[in-house]
């Protein structure tokens, strides 16, 4: 008995030790997540002096198959190895900033263009030069990945929100103005004339098309299209938009209400209780599943100017700490920036392609064409790090105005707070 006890103590101890040893790298700040460890085919540290070069690419689940196809072709033609690490899209930015400085990070990541500012100031991202291939991409997509005159990402998909309407209730014709839309919506006789996501925290993103139609951009753009840190929402135009929100808010017409969040928005539109909504391409699946025939049009004007929703662009970044930059550039410029690979990316995850030739091909679909048109009128979501300060203040101010706060004072306070926060 005693003997067994000693033995099992040793056995337990050594198992624990094995566990402790194997997790020895865990204390390092860059401890890899379980999914990553599981899907990584070969980590560089385990390979004895790699003979061939290896690219580590962080992708999310949706894009993994398309990138894998391009990678297979690349491997066959160059003899290099590509390891795809599947990660949660939302985690890639933070994890990359944390891991790249340790030298253990990936060579390439998939990401959104509005990370550019954070990645550039963190010093973890390499510049990219598309050379003659730049002309094959949509300009707004390249602008989105440009920061201080340098290109940092290879774009592949665009997305923007647009006006989605129920064809059975209001036909396919686009309303020209907000008032026009409300009139048609009321005529349809549904529970609501329009349903717009606000939610308790506020949603400046969804309402940004209306805001820009009053000429009140979040940040001003310089002549090259780069965003400056000058807040553009202040002054008369911003206040006009705030008053518009108040008039149509919960104490007014009730078209904007914090009670409607994304899920309720989806439910109401899918049940035919509202003929119009402002949504992105990701929401369409739920509508068609519910048997609603939809048409997609540009966002109607609330002010006098053309509404410009935020355009989000997705693409690939190269790590500044990569040991295989030449290979990484070769992979991106000569294997991903091709019509074939871009088409595969579209097939795997249908978003509006940033590659013009593919975009034009898929725009034969009227829904895609509608979002494409909306995106063409849009502006890139600012990627400067200061944008991070905007969201909370901006959303909260809109939510407050919609629930009945005095519009002018609330809006001006938000602009002042924002300017103070930016000044640091």
């Amino acid at each position: 008995m005693r003997k067994r006890l000693t033995l099992s103590a040793v056995a337990v101890a050594s198992t624990l030790l094995l566990a402790a040893c194997s997790s020895a790298p865990a204390p390092a700040p860059e401890s890899p997540s379980p999914t990553e460890a599981a899907t990584e085919t070969a980590s560089p540290s385990e390979e004895p002096a790699p003979s061939g070069a290896e690219l580590v690419v962080w992708v999310d689940e949706n894009r993994q198959p398309a990138v894998a196809d391009a990678a297979a072709k690349f491997e066959a033609e160059t003899g290099a190895t590509v390891s795809l690490v599947v990660k949660n899209f939302a985690d890639i930015r933070t994890d990359f900033i944390a891991q790249a400085p340790t030298g253990e990070g990936p060579d390439i990541i998939v990401g959104a263009h509005d990370w550019t500012g954070a990645l550039v100031t963190a010093g973890v991202v390499e510049t990219i030069d598309l050379g003659d291939k730049a002309g094959a991409f949509e300009k707004v997509a390249l602008d989105a990945f440009a920061y201080d005159g340098q290109l940092y990402g290879l774009p592949y998909a665009l997305e923007a929100i647009a006006l989605v309407q129920n064809v059975d209730l209001v036909g396919t014709e686009a309303p020209a103005t907000w008032d026009d839309m409300i009139a048609k919506g009321k005529e349809a006789g549904t529970e609501r004339a329009v349903v717009i996501n606000v939610s308790a925290t506020g949603d400046g993103y969804t309402s940004y098309g209306f805001q820009t139609s009053f000429g009140a951009p979040v940040f001003e753009q310089d002549e090259s299209g780069s965003y400056t840190t000058t807040v553009g929402m202040g002054g008369e135009n911003g206040v006009a938009f705030a008053k518009f929100l108040a008039e149509n808010g919960q104490k007014g017409e009730g078209h904007f209400t914090t009670d409607i969040d994304y899920d309720i928005n989806q439910a109401l539109f899918s049940e035919g209780k509202a003929p119009y909504t402002i949504q992105g391409p990701w929401a369409i699946g739920a509508y068609t599943d519910a048997g609603i025939e939809v048409a997609v049009n540009p966002i109607p004007k609330a002010g006098d100017e053309t509404p410009a929703p935020f355009v989000g662009v997705q693409g690939f970044y190269v790590s500044a700490q990569s040991q295989n930059k030449l290979l990484a550039n070769e992979f991106l410029v000569n294997y991903i920036a091709t019509e074939e690979a871009q088409q595969a990316l579209y097939d795997a995850d249908p978003r509006i392609p940033a590659f013009t030739a593919v975009a034009e091909k898929v725009a034969a679909d009227p829904i895609v064409a509608g979002f494409y048109a909306s995106a063409s009128a849009g502006v890139p979501m600012p990627s400067i790090p200061e944008m991070g300060l905007v969201w909370d203040l901006w959303n909260a101010a809109e939510a407050a105005i919609i629930t009945g706060s005095e519009p002018e004072a609330t809006w001006n306070k938000m602009v002042e707070d924002l300017e103070a926060a930016i000044a640091g």
């Binding site: 865990a26 400085p101 070769e330």
Partner: protein
């Protein structure tokens, strides 16, 4: 093994087995040796791997652990440690290291714009400021090699030009270009095959870093290649001088000097985008209490955190205890089924329940207003007071079943004699509850109450999922709200979710929270000893 000193030491009546006493090397020892060998082999593998990737911290820690393990399990004098060591190693790796690292980060300015080391920041600044010369062409390019020396050859409108870092581009009339416009051979150099270039990591690095001056005039920039088959002319706008620790803009002449705050700053105060991590001492802690924009909301958050944790624990405990008292009574029919039903909220994942509650509390579309308040418009999560009430209510709903379970257990394990004795002494119900039941229940549940307090103090899930800390404070530029507790405030300030990150400040706050929770727990555990004295 039977006669190892440890056995003799722990054995109550040592048997004399002289024939084996001197030997002491039974089968058990062999097994121990084999296991130790496996551990050692694995440990050495980790050490070697750490050596190869130059992770000297991990290397030192692995060596220390390995030496400790061998000493403890081979020595005869370390009997207690043989049992304690695995736990101690876990404590060191998973607790002390994390604490120490958080403490270390709290002393730095790690965050947006200060994420890398200084050397990496210098590299990044130089990368970002090497710009392609405007309207310059892209040239087909090949990499050349002569022994260890590397160079480029480009095809410039029909002419092959070659050069090295030391020799600006010059024409090579002897070069051969094939029908597809590829340079196949040049005079005096070997053209590196593309396949070799793409599979040789070390060569790639050198080629990527190679710059060939476009002309004798440095102002004209240099040819570089990014993928090894095309080249273009680039110019560095900034020049790095390690001796004086400055970056100089070659166009404007502005000098950016490295500061001890981890930035390159010019005379006029403008700074370059990329900074690096530096030690800022206790500044983050000082900021948390002196920066009025931060300290005031933090104070309110702290107050609410205590209120939330205490009220959550006390209310759930009282409701649980009450239900336990009622449904522990043998006169209640079907109490087993009823008890099972009561436990249901505990069986759902908390975040899912919180999501459901968020939907139910929606003022216009939620069923709470619809069913119980005659379809009135009550903004449960939009009003600061109601939001706090809602969170306490949902948390009560989530946690009372746990206390009901615990209290039923405590009640059932209570010695029946005491109740009998009290009855004989003529004690009433209230007296019996106050003097016998309650102290007995508290003895067994007090440590759980403390644990529950510590848990609720950091109960991030319900705060984040139910209302994300909202409604927001109107008087601060930090993204904090009326129902934020300290841990969710730290999450928001850390910028993990997006926005501007300040890991240093967030770590400092985390350290403060640790001290508060640790202090309260230590104090409370001390108090429970008094209860145990009553109970025994």
């Amino acid at each position: 093994m039977l006669t190892s000193p440890k056995d003799t030491a722990t054995r109550p009546t040592p048997r004399a087995v002289p024939a084996r006493e001197w030997n002491g090397r039974g089968g058990g020892f062999l097994v121990k040796l084999a296991l130790l060998a496996i551990v050692n082999a694995f440990g050495v593998a980790v050490v070697l791997a750490a050596w190869r990737v130059e992770s000297y911290g991990i290397l030192a820690a692995s060596v220390a652990i390995l030496v400790a393990v061998d000493w403890v399990y081979l020595s005869r004098r370390t009997v207690p440690l043989k049992y304690l060591l695995p736990g101690l190693i876990f404590l060191a790796v998973f607790q002390l290291f994390v604490l120490g690292y958080t403490g270390y980060v709290a002393l730095t300015n790690y965050g947006t714009g200060h994420a890398v080391t200084k050397a990496q920041a210098v590299d990044a600044v130089l990368i970002q400021n090497e710009r392609r010369v405007e309207d310059s062409a892209s040239y087909p390019l090949v990499v050349l090699r002569d022994g260890a020396e590397l160079g480029f050859a480009i095809l410039d409108t029909g002419t092959v030009r070659i050069g090295t870092p030391d020799q600006p581009l010059y024409d090579d009339p002897g070069a051969v270009v094939d029908g597809e416009g590829r340079i196949t051979s040049v005079t005096g150099w070997e053209v590196v095959p593309r396949a070799e270039l793409l599979t040789d990591s070390a060569l790639q690095q050198r080629v990527f870093d190679l710059r060939v001056p476009a002309s004798a005039n440095a102002e004209d920039g240099s040819i570089r290649t990014r993928e090894g088959s095309t080249g273009a002319v680039y110019r560095s706008v900034l020049e790095w001088d390690p001796a004086s620790d400055t970056m100089t803009d070659v166009d404007t002449g502005v000098v950016y000097t490295a500061t001890d705050r981890g930035n390159f700053v010019a005379q006029d105060g403008s700074a370059l985008a990329v900074g690096w991590r530096v030690n800022v001492g206790l500044e983050n802690f000082v900021r948390a209490v002196t920066d009025t924009d931060l300290a005031k909301p933090l104070l309110r958050v702290t107050g609410w955190t205590f209120a939330f944790a205490i009220i959550s624990v006390v209310s759930a405990f009282l409701v649980g205890l009450g239900l336990a008292l009622v449904y522990n009574d043998e006169r209640v029919r079907g109490r087993k089924i009823i008890r099972t039903l009561f436990i249901l909220p505990y069986a759902f994942p908390a975040f899912l329940s919180a999501l459901l509650w968020r939907g139910m509390l929606n003022p216009e579309y939620g069923i709470i207003n619809d069913w119980f308040f005659g379809n009135a418009y009550i903004s449960w999560l939009g009003d600061p007071f109601l939001a706090k009430l809602s969170i306490l209510w949902v948390n009560l709903w989530l946690s009372y079943p746990y206390w009901m379970l615990v209290c039923i257990g405590a009640l059932q394990s209570m010695p029946a004699e005491r109740i009998e004795a009290a009855k004989i002494d003529g004690a009433g119900r209230w007296r019996m509850f106050r003097s016998i039941t309650m102290p007995q229940v508290l003895v067994s549940t007090a440590p759980l109450l403390i644990a529950s307090f510590a848990f609720n103090f950091n109960n991030f899930v319900i705060i984040y999922v139910l209302n994300n800390g909202g409604p927001r404070f109107a008087d601060t530029s930090f993204p904090l709200g009326h129902t934020d507790i300290l841990i969710s405030a730290v999450y928001n300030i850390s910028g993990v979710a997006g926005g501007v990150a300040d890991y240093g400040l967030a770590s400092a706050l985390a350290v403060i929270i640790f001290i508060v929770v640790g202090g309260i727990s230590a104090f409370a555990f001390r108090q429970t000893r008094k209860l145990e004295e009553i109970g025994s």
